[in-house]
Subunit: 352 residues, 2 copies
Amino acid sequence: MEEKISNLGELGEFGLIKHLTRDFPLSQASSIKGIGDDAAVLEFLSGRTVVSSDMLVEGIHFDLSYAPPQHLGYKAVAVNLSDIYAMNARPTQITVNIAVSNRFGIEYLDKIYEGIRHACEVYEVDLVGGDTTSSYSGLILSITAIGEVDETKITERSGAKDNDLLVVSGDLGGAYIGLQVLEREKSVFQANPDEQPDLSAYQYPIQRQLKPEARKDIPELLEKLGVLPSSMIDISDGLSSEALHLSDSSNLGVRIYEDKIPIDPAVIKACEEFKLSATTIALNGGEDYELLFTIPLEDHDKIKGNPHFSVIGHMTEAARGRMLVARDGAEVPLQAQGWNALSNDNDSPQQD
Amino acid sequence: MEEKISNLGELGEFGLIKHLTRDFPLSQASSIKGIGDDAAVLEFLSGRTVVSSDMLVEGIHFDLSYAPPQHLGYKAVAVNLSDIYAMNARPTQITVNIAVSNRFGIEYLDKIYEGIRHACEVYEVDLVGGDTTSSYSGLILSITAIGEVDETKITERSGAKDNDLLVVSGDLGGAYIGLQVLEREKSVFQANPDEQPDLSAYQYPIQRQLKPEARKDIPELLEKLGVLPSSMIDISDGLSSEALHLSDSSNLGVRIYEDKIPIDPAVIKACEEFKLSATTIALNGGEDYELLFTIPLEDHDKIKGNPHFSVIGHMTEAARGRMLVARDGAEVPLQAQGWNALSNDNDSPQQD
C-alpha cells in the first residue's frame, strides 16, 4: 500500500514536524504565529470564535486500501471545516495531530500533508499547530478547526421556528453509495488481483466518499442572497439524524417530503444496482457534508429555483412529530439510524 | 484491567458524548456555548488567543496496566495546558477527542472523564467540544487547549537575550525515574502476581509520572513578582532539549551548571538505586512539565531565594555554544537526547 522508504525514527519528531509543515505559509490576518512555539498565537479583533474538533481513525473512518493519502488529508480537513461552515462562520485556522505506526514512510505522510495543504489553500485556512506521534497500530488524524463569525450571524441548531422551511444544499446519498462501490471493488480485487475495476460510471459517488468538499460557498451565497438561516447543521450522519438534531434543539416537529430530497442520477443508478432504496441512503447514509438549514417562509423567493438549494420540508409544532412524508402520502417517523461510530461500522466523525 | 460492564455501542455516539460530558459546566466568561452544536462559540474581547494540541496514544505515552484512568484524564489535560502556561497565557477552554476500542466499558471512560473534569476544575478551563469514536486498537486522547494573553505578555521561545538568566521552576527528573519504578514493578508483578509492591518510597516520582501538574502558579507568581520572562518553554522532553529550543529560537548560546539543576532527594535516591545519573535523567528524562524561562539579569533579586525557582545558568553569545558545565568545571555540549516519540520509546507528547 505505502512504501516505507525513509525511516521516520531517523528524522525525529521535531524534524518530522518541521518537514511536514515546511510549505504551510500563514495567510490569515488572525494568524499571528503558527507552528514553532509551545502554542500558536491568534488574534480575533471582534466577533465570536468558533472551535470544532474531529478524529478520523483508520479502519473506522477510512480504509487505506482505497483511500489515497492526498484525499485522506484533504477529507480530514474538509470534514472539520464543514462544522465551522454549519455555524455560518469562516474557518481561519486548523491544528493537526497525527499518530502513525512505523509501517508508514515519510513519503506517505508527505502525501497526506499534500492533501492537507491543498485543503488549506482551497478553504483559505492556516495550519498553525499540531502534534506528531507514533502509534502501535493504525493511522489517526485529529483536527481542530477554528473560525470567526459576527455575533449576529451565528446559526445554531436551536434557532428554527415553527413553519420555517427546511432547506438542504447539493444532493445526498452519494458518499454512502460511493463507499459501497469501493467496498465491492475491494472484495473483487482481493478475490482476483488481476481484475482491473472500471469505476467510470461511479465517479461522482466515489469522489463524494473519498474527497468530499465542505460547503464554503453556501454561507457566502446565502449572505449574497440576503438570507440568514434560523438554524443550520452539516450532514455528516445522514439527513434524518441531522433533521432530528435541529428538531430536538429547536423543540419543534419536522416534515420532510420524500419526493423533494435531492439525489444525483448517478447515485440513484448505483442504488438500483445495489438494490438499496435511494431515499433510505439519503436519509441515513451520512458523510455528504451538505448543509441543512431552516429559513423563514418569507425568504422562500430568495432561494427558489437556485440549483444549490432544495426545499425539502418545513418545521412544525413539536406535537406534530418528526415525519417523512413518503411519495404515496404515508407518514413515517424519522429515525436516526445514521452510522454509529461505536457499533464499529464505517462512520462519519461527529462532534455533538 | 477494566471491566466492560456497559456496552458502548448501546449508548451510541451521541448518547456517549452526552453522558461523558454531562457534568461539565461552563465557567469561563469567554465560553459562550460549549458542547451541543457543530462548534463551540467563544468570545475573546481583547488580547491574543493561543492554541495548542497534543495527542496521547496508549502504548506510546501511557501504559494502562499502571496508569489509573482518572490520572490519565487529568494528565492529558495538564500536559496540554502546560503549553499554554509556557506562553504566559491563561488557558480558558479545551476540546477532547477520544478513540476507544470496545474492550473499554462506559465505567472506564467515566473515570477518564472524572480526571478530565477534575483538571478542568483545578485549572479553571471549560470543556467545550470533542469527538468520541471507536478504534480497533488502543485508547487515544487528542486534546486542544485554548487560552488568552495580553499581547505584551506573550513569552515566545525566541525572546531570550544575551546574558539573560536561565531559570527553571520546581525540580526535574521525577517523571522519568517514576516511570522506571513503575516499569520495574510491572515486570515483578508479571513474574509473580501475588507480590504486593511497596511503592511508598517512590511516591513523589510516581506521582510526577502519573499525575503531573501544569505550572498554573508560575505565570501568576511571576506577575506578582513583577517579572516578565524574555522567553519561556515547558519541559516535556527534558531540560537539555528545551534549553536547546530556546537557544535555537533566540540565536544564542546557553550554559547550564550541573550543580544548579534542582532534583528532589527522592529522585536522587531512586536514580542511585537504578544506577542512573540523576543529572542525565534531569537533562533528558522529560515529562516534568516544569517551566524553563529566561529573565534579565536585573530581575535576579526578584526571584532570588524563592523556593519555586532555580537559576541554573544563563544565555551567551551563539559562538560560545550550548554547554553543560559539570561539577568539576568540564564543559560538555548539551544534546537533545530526549525521548523520541518516533523511535517508539515511551515519550512525552510534544507540539513543536
